[in-house]
């Protein structure tokens, strides 16, 4: 397929050997690239029932179909494997500069199998691919090791580097993989898989051209999009102090269609932290381990996370590859206690996970937690959720001061929060018990701790409340990578304009009552399914979710696909590929969970902690009284996909229809 490199590199870390594998055209046609290509290849490569931290698991670093084609906001890289956290399909993705470099090295993906006898790094440059001894870098944090690799680099071109920190080396199941000095593919426990393989880093500096079918058309589309983004300017009244009012307005009983490209002006100014205070007043942000509300973290406290306060610390903007928005930033870390002078600006997820979720209102502490996570490799969403869990366990006597090595784990206690996080990163004392996420920690603790462990299918959910956005709750529970906030949600769907392209996608063109979203209806189900299929297209092509949320009428994704590949299929047909990828991810998880029964690494979790869907509902705050009929919504979602309504395993007839192999 045009736009792709035609092959992947498979590296056996046990033997140190490498082979290139050519990808048949029909595989590209059916699975595209990125997550799609990975699920097709890894379903065959990973032995059924393999230990996710053993040599049988494979770890794929994938670029996207559109990456490097000249299209905009399509530079994300995806990392895929069997998840040690959930037991099913695992993937995570990240922006930065790493993805195009995979293709410039000549491959659509680099897949690692086996376990190296000693720490190694994978290098590809003008001298070709090779493994180098990484013993000197093992034990360094992710940012330190990236700097050390850069310092030792003698190649002509600067490399793009992905690394892991100590938490991943110590196999924390909530660890991720860093690039560009602390931007993360954080979810699904992908860092632990990399650590288990003793693979410290990848350093890529390629020069191969990425050829697409109609570069002039791609360029024209890109110029038009960049021009639209470029001229957007927010009125001066849009200050951080204004965000709670705006957030409150959007928490009203009416949902209005939003012209997403105008919302991207807000992203341009602040990045995701625009939601720091708005999310609290409208109920989007979970508070106090999902058991509280803005009543527990009121204006006098949430003012500390006013996005302007972080923006004041931003010394420069940060754009991922091919992105004209630049929601990232580099912040001055002076006075926070961080290990370096600068850090990537904390995302909204991080601000919430180490802010309202743990009732901490000290911005320096949030920044320090960001730094600890970015260096050690802990996923900030999961790590903040674990801290919140531990605080509530302490409050209820499940964890004692003695268990916590003398720490008094009180809500909002900055010192205790930071120290507990360090203990997790280093797997020290109670931190060792907590370092694999709340689901495993709760099992280890017993004493009723499971009730306090907020996860979906074993993974801590993103910082967006399913009681506010029921589609988000469905996604948390029913996606093959549960707990992810980026898969499918009402808010993303409503700005996507997918219905203008996809014949079966329900139309959202005029205001409607919010109560409609709480009904398990055919329309809401179709929106969930369409959102999930679209997300798989994003992850197959390297597309950014924030590009989709500008609206497809602006971000001309399907036109770029046609121009880059020369493939004239319709949006409905592209969406069929998304449906195939989503079903293949589900099939992988179903196969593995069945095969893992009784094994030490078996994961068999309920759909979601009831707090996620409001059972019982909150008593106060903007989401008071809200309950999502999650079980019924999940049944409908699975039925629509053609999956078994109870287990979520794709039905044999669905597999056959989509051309997927049926596993016994």
């Amino acid at each position: 397929m045009r736009g792709m490199m035609g092959k992947v590199l498979i590296v056996d870390l046990t033997t140190g050997t490498m082979e290139e594998k050519a990808i048949p055209e029909e595989t590209y046609r059916d699975y595209l690239g990125g997550v799609g290509l990975a699920v097709r290849l890894l379903t065959d490569m990973i032995p059924v029932g393999a230990d996710p931290l053993g040599p049988g698991n494979a770890l794929a670093f994938m670029s996207g179909l559109l990456t490097g084609s000249g299209s905009m906001m399509t530079g994300r890289w995806m990392v895929c494997c069997k998840s040690p956290l959930t037991g099913g399909w695992g993937d995570a993705n990240c922006g930065g500069t790493f993805s195009p470099e995979i293709k410039r090295c000549g491959w659509d993906g680099i897949i690692f199998r086996g376990v190296s006898p000693k720490p190694v790094a994978f290098v590809a440059d003008e001298n070709g691919p090779r493994l180098v001894d990484a013993s000197a870098w093992w034990g360094m944090d992710a940012i330190e090791s990236e700097d050390a690799i850069k310092a030792s680099w003698s190649g002509k071109k600067k490399p793009a580097i992905a690394t892991i920190g100590q938490a991943a080396e110590k196999l924390s199941l909530i660890s991720g993989i860093s690039n560009d000095g602390g931007r993360y593919a954080a979810r699904s426990g992908v860092g632990a898989v990399m650590g288990s393989k003793r693979l410290k880093a990848l350093a890529l500096a390629g020069s191969k051209p990425i050829v697409c079918a109609d570069p002039a058309r791609v360029r024209d589309l890109s110029k038009a999009f960049a021009a639209k983004i470029g001229k957007l300017k927010l009125p001066k009244v849009f200050t951080g102090a204004f965000m709670p009012l705006l957030g409150k307005m959007l928490g009203l009983k009416v949902v209005v269609p939003v012209d997403g490209i105008l919302a991207s002006a807000i992203l341009k100014k602040w990045g995701t932290i625009y939601n720091n205070t708005a999310g609290l007043v409208n109920g989007d942000s979970p508070v106090r381990n999902w058991g509280g509300s803005v009543k527990d973290y009121g204006a006098s406290r949430y003012r500390s996370v006013n996005p302007d306060r972080l923006r004041e610390r931003e010394s420069k903007k940060y754009n991922c590859f091919s992105c004209p928005i630049g929601c990232g930033g580099i912040c001055d870390a002076t006075g926070t206690g961080a290990a370096g002078k600068h850090m990537h600006k904390p995302e909204y997820e991080t601000c919430c996970a180490f802010g309202a979720l743990v009732l901490n209102d000290d911005l320096d502490t949030i920044m320090l937690c960001n730094d600890i996570c970015n260096r050690s490799g802990l996923d900030t969403i999961s790590a903040g959720t674990v801290v919140a869990f531990a605080l509530e366990c302490y409050e209820r006597g499940v964890i004692t001061k003695e268990d916590a090595d003398g720490l008094e784990l009180r809500w909002g206690d900055s010192g205790a929060i930071v120290e507990l996080l360090r203990m997790m990163a280093e797997r020290r004392g109670l931190g060792d018990l907590l370092a694999d996420g709340v689901a495993i920690a709760a099992k280890r603790l017993g004493k009723g701790a499971e009730e306090l462990a907020v996860h979906a299918g074993g993974q801590e959910p993103g910082m967006h409340d399913g009681r506010m956005d029921p589609m988000m709750a469905v996604s948390f529970a029913a996606d093959p990578t549960p707990g992810r906030h980026t898969i499918s949600a009402g808010v993303y769907y409503n700005v996507s304009h997918l219905w203008e392209y996809v014949s079966w996608a329900p139309k959202v063109t005029k205001p409607y009552p919010k109560s409609k979203e709480y009904a398990a209806s055919d329309e809401e189900t179709l929106k969930s399914v369409a959102g999930a299929c679209m997300k798989q297209l994003l992850d197959a092509t390297g597309g950014c979710l924030f590009a989709l949320t500008t609206g497809l009428q602006h971000w001309r994704f399907f036109d770029w696909l046609a121009a880059a590949t020369g493939d004239a299929r319709t949006p409905d047909e592209w969406m069929e590929a998304g449906r195939r990828i989503q079903t293949a991810r589900a099939a992988f998880g179903a196969r593995e969970r069945l095969a893992d029964e009784g094994k030490a690494w078996s994961r068999n979790y309920s759909l979601a902690n009831p707090r996620i869907y409001g059972d019982p509902p909150l008593r106060e705050g903007p989401l008071a009284g809200k309950t999502v009929p999650l079980a019924e919504m999940v049944v409908r979602y699975r039925r629509e996909f053609g999956w078994d309504e109870d287990s979520g395993a794709p039905r044999p007839e669905t597999m056959r229809t989509l051309g997927l192999s049926v596993h016994s």
Partner: protein
């Protein structure tokens, strides 16, 4: 003429058709549209919206097919 609108939650949605358009008399102004949508403080409200992604005042004459969008957050996500 018809213009595509993306309105704030306090607007009166009754004027909006199923495709998200409002029908107006030819040559109607932005101010007239805001009035039709029962949006208060119209001169101020106009600073929160764009016509075809450009700033415009209440006196701006709209044309068939224009897009009038209010700045908004993504509520969540």
């Amino acid at each position: 003429m018809k213009v595509r609108v993306y309105v704030p939650p306090f607007a009166d949605p009754r004027a909006i058709d199923d495709d998200g358009f409002v029908e107006l008399a030819d040559g109607a102004t932005l101010g007239a549209l805001l009035k039709r949508l029962r949006i208060p403080l119209r001169p101020l409200a106009a600073t929160f919206c764009l016509v075809n992604y450009e700033r415009a005042g209440v006196g701006h004459r709209l044309a068939d097919g224009d897009t009038v969008s209010f700045f908004s957050l993504l509520p969540g996500g």
